[in-house]
């Protein structure tokens, strides 16, 4: 067992700091843990792989992409957060989740020393969207909860619709 008092300040700093990617959507900046993102692609290079997904179950998803024989759902972050419509130029492909996220741009990579819990006064959907808040320089950013982009229920509905569409496409072929 390690006694906290025996840890050097350097060790404590090392344990706390977390690399994050700062990205923006409709002039709002968000932070996401760097290790939650597997790949960042431009929408131009991604366009060839993305397939239009016509469905009315989850409005923020309009495309899918197949990677390693798994279907990823492409979430428009602007629609997810209820922000004004923009033209996303980048896609963040998340790690360990079948989600790719359309964003406007990457601001930079940086490290945050701690994630402050979201104040309890916030009681809406943002409790699922964010892990908490980061205070960096003189700015406060929400830190994204990657599992918040699509709920288990939304995944189920999308998977069901996708399976039906695949079946219909197979019959037509």
């Amino acid at each position: 067992m390690k006694i906290a008092a025996q840890e050097s300040p350097k060790q404590r700093r090392g344990r706390r700091s977390e690399p994050v990617i700062l990205f923006s959507v409709a002039h709002q900046t968000f932070a996401i843990a760097a290790d939650a993102v597997q790949e960042i692609r431009s929408t131009d290079s991604f366009a060839g792989a993305a397939v239009e997904f016509k469905q009315s179950e989850v409005a923020k998803v309009r495309h899918t992409v197949e990677r390693a024989r798994r279907i990823y759902y492409v979430v428009n972050a602007g629609v997810h957060f209820g922000l004004p419509t923009t033209r996303p130029t980048l896609v963040l492909i998340l790690r360990q989740l079948r989600v790719a996220v359309l964003v406007d741009r990457i601001e930079r990579m940086t490290e945050i020393s701690m994630v402050h819990p979201l104040p309890r006064g916030f009681s809406g959907a943002e409790r699922h969207w964010y892990r908490g808040l980061a205070y960096l320089g003189d700015r406060v950013f929400p830190v994204i909860q990657p599992t918040g982009f699509l709920t288990a229920d939304e995944f189920q509905r999308l998977d069901r619709t996708h399976a039906v569409q695949e079946e219909l496409a197979g019959v037509r072929a």
Partner: protein
């Protein structure tokens, strides 16, 4: 309840929201802060307009003017920071106020029948009766429509005229 506690219970902070004065129990008020930078980000909680950083803490800011006045408050010069109760825990909460606050003491009367749930009582201050706010109820209240506000204001004017 000892004398000190009783005094604390009878002390109120008078705050100005828009053109009206309200009172909050002084024992839940922490400080009056200058209008520091408001940080906002997408969320879906009514009344919350963002957060401020105060003494290293991130404090949510609630615009209560739509509830109290039926419209947003465009000008504010200070944040009144008070403690909101969440079960056994409390959390600092900031309310934009337009003027400096003052301390008043006295015995608040129970609210009249039919008043909004966030009105905990009425405090006589000079010739004025100031509504005492229940912060926890206020911060979970829905904004009033302008028509309801007009009705309430005209009632208040009628009461003032009668007195």
């Amino acid at each position: 309840m000892d004398a000190a506690q009783a005094t604390a219970r009878d002390s109120y902070v008078l705050l100005q929201v828009g053109n009206r004065r309200f009172a909050l129990r002084a024992d839940i008020v922490s400080e009056l802060a200058p209008a520091v930078r408001l940080h906002n980000f997408p969320h879906a909680t009514p009344l919350v307009v963002g957060v401020i950083v105060r003494r290293g803490r991130i404090v949510p800011v609630y615009d209560v003017a739509p509830v109290l006045l039926g419209r947003g408050s465009s000008v504010h010069r200070f944040y009144l920071i008070a403690r909101r109760q969440f079960g056994n825990a409390t959390e600092a909460s900031a309310i934009p106020v337009t003027g400096e606050c003052e301390l008043a003491s006295g015995e608040a009367h129970p609210p009249e029948m039919g008043r909004q749930r966030y009105i905990a009582g009425t405090l006589p201050v000079g010739s004025e009766d100031v509504d005492v706010l229940d912060l926890d109820v206020l911060l979970t209240s829905a904004p009033v429509s302008p028509s309801r506000e007009i009705h309430r204001t005209s009632n208040a004017s009628a009461t003032e005229a009668q007195s």
